[in-house]
């Protein structure tokens, strides 16, 4: 088989992994070598689905011994199989990199033989790139669940990022959809990666929310009931698959990250670890997914959790036949994830046991603000950075611009738009030293309790993404 046909098969087989980030690494250029890391990450093109392409994302081989129902490469799926020669793949990475087509490579593989032999093959390509080719571009390696700690550490040595995907947001779904993967196999890799990056996996204190009260779209589900509390030595022996919502005294992801010193020039794993959750292949609610994501950020120092709308390929009775990928749900989850990382929110502020799903029509921040009107309006001339960040229509950039701009003279409502504030949303939630902004084109003062406020806050995401939104009856299918 020639390289072009292999590339076609092996990139097609790799594309359902959402991660294409190249940020977090400032790997220095070696003299006489090729390439370096750009700490902010660089996108090199955007595919027809609008997703950024930064890395050459391919499998070493799409032959797989496992049979995970959501995965296009599962053993029981009838697709063409191929595998790169290591040398062929090294050539491809270097040829693409020198032309500035890519920022680096994301190498993964189907499981051929056992997890350890698969890992060894990935590591050998990585080693050749780093040592023989003296290549310092961004390298993301996939760790295979169940791989030994020693091999995971070796992968971390060559890579900027290593990831292991959870895919299914509960142990029960993992058991039924991906029978060859166990929570233990996944989380032991995550622990090894956290340690390789100099982070001792955290023990999450049990909360008073009992597992059975964790909401699911299927109320009868006891998906997490048999999972032990994570504390003390138990964290070592038993893999954490704790998806309970954070207790109120738990710090936010943003706070914890602020205190964590990172060195983007570190030789080992400067861009940390990430993981992916498939959305819509199993019945867990948004609250379960976000609770799990928050725990992953806090417990394993995860740098990113990716959410991947389940794309049904060929039918498998273990996963639903959806009309299309649930893109709107994925979009809202990403917005909520942003609230963790950049806005100081906690999962239990965004969702709760009695409100398990994100609002399809509202940005989760707007939805939160409408539920917490007692915290508004915020005076833009007095509020601190964190209070400003909580205002719909104000983001990190406009919040810091407000702080700079008001040091000269008090801000008036007319000035906010020029600072990058989205007044269409912010107007309902701010004052300028007591002056309430007016609604554009009207003499009315913006009042969030008025009937038109919610309508004004609805964004266009449903129209753009909702066409293939999941409306799937899990109870009927069970």
């Amino acid at each position: 088989m020639d390289t072009i046909r292999k590339l076609e098969i092996l990139s097609d087989a790799a594309k359902y992994d959402a991660s294409c980030s190249s940020s977090g690494s400032a790997r220095p250029a070696l003299s006489g070598g090729l390439g370096n890391g750009a700490v902010g990450g660089i996108c090199h093109t955007w595919a027809a689905d609008g997703r950024c392409v930064s890395l050459l994302k391919v499998l070493l081989s799409n032959a797989c011994a496992w049979d995970c129902a959501y995965c296009v490469n599962r053993r029981s799926n009838d697709v063409s199989r191929a595998g790169f020669e290591p040398e062929e793949l090294v050539r491809l990475v270097i040829d693409f990199y020198k032309r500035n087509y890519i920022e680096g490579a994301f190498l993964s593989s189907g499981v051929t033989g056992c997890p350890d032999t698969t890992m060894e093959r990935l590591i050998s390509v990585a080693r050749t790139l780093r040592v023989r080719e003296r290549w310092n571009g961004y390298l993301h390696l996939k760790a295979i669940p169940g791989a030994s700690e020693q091999l995971v550490a070796e992968a971390a040595r060559w890579a900027d990022r290593v990831s292991v995907n959870i895919e299914l947001p509960s142990a029960e779904s993992l058991g039924s959809v991906a029978p060859d993967k166990s929570p233990r196999a996944i989380f032991s890799v995550m622990r090894s990666l956290a340690r390789a990056g100099g982070f001792e996996p955290r023990r999450l204190l049990p909360t008073d929310v009992t597992p059975s009260s964790v909401p699911s779209s299927n109320p009868g589900s006891t998906a997490f009931g048999n999972l032990p509390a994570v504390s003390g030595a138990a964290a070592e022996r038993v893999p954490v698959y704790d998806v309970r919502l954070a207790s109120t005294d738990r710090p936010s992801v943003m706070e914890v990250r602020k205190d964590r010193r990172r060195n983007p020039e570190a030789a080992v794993l400067p861009a940390g670890q990430s993981t992916q959750l498939v959305v819509g292949a199993s019945p867990e609610s948004d609250a379960v997914i976000l609770g799990l994501a928050e725990n992953l950020y806090l417990a394993y120092d995860g740098r990113r959790v990716y959410y991947s709308a389940f794309v049904p390929t060929t039918p498998d009775p273990r996963v639903p036949a959806l009309p299309g990928p649930p893109l709107l749900r994925e979009h809202r989850l990403y917005q909520a994830d942003w609230l963790f990382r950049f806005y100081g929110f906690k999962a239990d502020e965004i969702l709760s046991a009695d409100r398990p799903f994100l609002d399809a029509d509202l940005d989760p921040k707007c939805a939160w603000a409408l539920r917490n009107l007692d915290r508004f309006p915020v005076d833009v001339n007095r509020a601190d950075y964190l209070e400003l960040l909580r205002v719909p229509g104000i983001g990190p950039r406009s919040a810091s611009r407000i702080l700079r701009a008001r040091s000269g003279s008090a801000l008036k409502p007319e000035a906010l738009q020029a600072l990058g504030v989205v007044m269409k949303r912010a107007a309902f939630f701010v004052t300028c030293s007591g002056t309430v902004p007016r609604i554009a084109g009207s003499m009315k003062s913006a009042n969030p309790e008025a009937a038109f406020a919610r309508a004004a806050l609805v964004d266009g995401a449903r129209e753009k993404l909702g066409g293939t939104q999941l409306e799937f009856d899990w109870d009927a299918s069970a």
Binding site: T3, I4, L7, E8, S11, D12, A14, K15, Y16, A29, S31, G32, G33, L34, G35, N36, A38, G40, I42, C43, H44, T45, W46, A47, A48, D49, G50, R51, C52, V53, S54, L56, K57, L92, D95, F96, K98, R99, N100, Y101, E103, A309, V311, G324, P325, L327, R401, R404, A405, S407, G408, S409, L411, A415, A418, L419, K464, T468
Partner: protein, 263 residues
């Protein structure tokens, strides 16, 4: 009317602009406006032209740099390179403030000129960042690498260091076709920015312009084909979203992108 003090005009270049600003700084209040000579004069405008003098420009740069610090000067350069209409006039006013108040002048975003400068700088910075990804090199038969680009802002000064660090052992040129400037890099040496660059090619297109396509190294087309194939294969069909793609990568960039080509 700003007739009394008139308008100081310069010819295009950044040093020329700085000389005009130096002239404006020396004038009494109200400060004269600084404009690119290519802007059509208004009916009652008294124009005063300043010649480009690189030493004078460097002296002003150093003077303000000492007062305002290097971070502010990066913003100044970016704002100028944005080429946004009116950005130069705002920048001249802001340079005056930087000279008086130092870097904190840039914090006063309630000032229209400061805000305009910040926005212009952001635009150039963002396009520069984008071109760190969108530059496409082709390998020529002599072993050197050539990348033609057509950015809206004059981004080459902003991206030169990135490319010469990353591809330190490659001999390459990044050629801004519209402005005629280029980043030239020889293996193991610092890069240089040149004006009026011409690809030194044996083959020419109709009209006598050098034709890089005829100078490609063997195997170049095959590697382009592999990249284009990868680009097509990586898109997930049920998620197709051209609008999103175009919002990140406007059509104006497509003609220089290997993967957006006709085949």
């Amino acid at each position: 009317m700003n007739g009394a003090e008139g308008t100081i005009v310069y010819h295009g270049s950044f040093p020329g602009f700085l000389c005009a600003c130096a002239e404006a700084l020396n004038s009494r209040e109200p400060a004269p406006r600084v404009l690119d000579a290519r802007v059509e004069p208004t009916l009652f405008e008294a124009r005063f032209q300043v010649a480009r003098d690189d030493e004078r420009a460097a002296a002003l740069w150093d003077r303000i740099s000492n007062r305002a610090g290097s971070q502010a000067m990066v913003t100044v350069l970016e704002a100028f390179l944005s080429g946004m209409p009116g950005a130069d006039a705002s920048l001249a006013t802001v340079l005056r403030k930087l000279w008086r108040k130092g870097a904190k002048a840039l914090d006063d975003l309630s000032d229209g000129d400061v805000l305009a400068v910040e926005k212009a700088a952001l635009r150039a910075r963002q396009e520069g960042h984008k071109f760190c990804g969108l530059v496409r090199f082709s390998k020529l038969s002599d072993g050197s690498w050539y990348a033609p680009v057509e950015p809206s802002c004059d981004v080459l000064p902003l991206i030169a260091e990135h490319f010469s660090t990353r591809f330190s052992s490659m001999r390459f040129a990044i050629h801004d076709l519209a402005r005629g400037s280029a980043i030239i890099h020889e293996a193991g040496r610092p890069c240089s920015l040149v004006e009026g660059f011409h690809l030194d090619a044996a083959t020419t297109q109709d009209g006598g312009r050098p034709d890089p396509e005829a100078e490609l190294s063997r195997g170049e087309k095959e590697i382009r084909a592999l990249w284009s194939l990868y680009f097509r294969a990586i898109a997930i069909e049920p998620r197709r979203n051209r609008r999103l793609q175009m919002s990140h990568m406007p059509r104006k960039y497509w003609s220089r992108l290997t993967e957006m080509g006709p085949d």
